[in-house]
């Protein structure tokens, strides 16, 4: 009897997991346009009832830095130099037509002109909607970053195993 009950409960749990709408994004890229795609998908999905997780790694970590411009964030002189060159959210380049930093400015003005949410507005919306933000522990270690260097909405620093556990039962995209 107990065995039957356990099987039924297990089946029910699996059904619940399958029913739950979940989107997990791996934000690897640090470009303005790709991060716009990340946050557009994240906010859109969260707004229509999905649980959304974003796992920021490598260049993607620039999007969640507390200092939005260029600053020497890092553990030693080399990572501090990297930190300065990479910059934060407002210093992200476009993947095409960057033109030494003019590209993102043009895109921002085009987005505003056409009443399309800018990257900064999308990040604010993601936070208001309770999108779960996570930082990759390994990439943080390489780049000399700590959780205090990130915006306070970042819930935790994770490794692959925890990310897989969190994203299980939903869709995962790599951007």
């Amino acid at each position: 009897m107990n065995k039957v009950l356990a099987t039924l409960l297990l089946t029910r749990n699996k059904m619940d997991m399958a029913d739950k709408k979940k989107l997990s994004l791996i934000a690897f890229s640090g470009e303005f346009d790709k991060l716009t795609a990340v946050f557009t998908l994240a906010t859109g999905a969260a707004a229509v009832g999905y649980e959304v997780n974003i796992f920021f790694t490598f260049w993607g970590l620039d999007a969640i830095k507390q200092k939005k411009g260029r600053s020497f964030v890092g553990g030693n002189w080399l990572t501090k130099l990297f930190g300065f060159m990479m910059g934060g959210l407002s210093a992200t380049p476009t993947s095409r037509f960057n033109f030494f930093g003019i590209g993102p400015k043009i895109f921002r003005s085009l987005m505003k002109k056409n009443n399309v949410a800018t990257l900064e507005e999308l990040v604010d919306a993601a936070n208001a909607l309770g999108v779960n933000l996570y930082a990759c522990e390994m990439a943080m270690h390489v780049l000399g970053l700590e959780q205090k260097d990130f915006i306070h909405e970042v819930k935790d620093t994770l490794g692959v195993a925890t990310f897989l556990e969190i994203s299980e039962g939903g869709r995962t995209m790599f951007i």
């Binding site: 998908l41 906010t43 859109g44 707004a47 229509v48 009832g49 919306a125």
Partner: protein
């Protein structure tokens, strides 16, 4: 029971959904949200996602041109 208004006719994806969701989160239980939206993606999906999330879509009416009015009860 009060009625609140939200105009998303000038918004684009994903802010159409985002603004509706945030407004619905703000209003008290039982209140009605009147959403003004345009045809296409907003009209097709805002009422559908509201229903999916457990809200009650009371009516969908054509206002003028491509603008429609959707009443959603929280």
């Amino acid at each position: 029971m009060a009625t609140h208004t939200l105009d998303i006719t000038k918004e684009h994806c994903p802010m159409t959904f985002v603004k509706t969701k945030l407004k619905l989160a703000q209003i008290p239980e039982g209140d009605v949200l009147e959403v003004l939206l345009t045809e296409g993606e907003p009209l097709n999906n805002v009422p559908r996602s509201a229903t999916e999330q457990g809200y009650k879509v009371l009516s969908i009416d054509h206002v003028e041109g491509n603008v429609h009015k959707v009443l959603i009860q929280k």
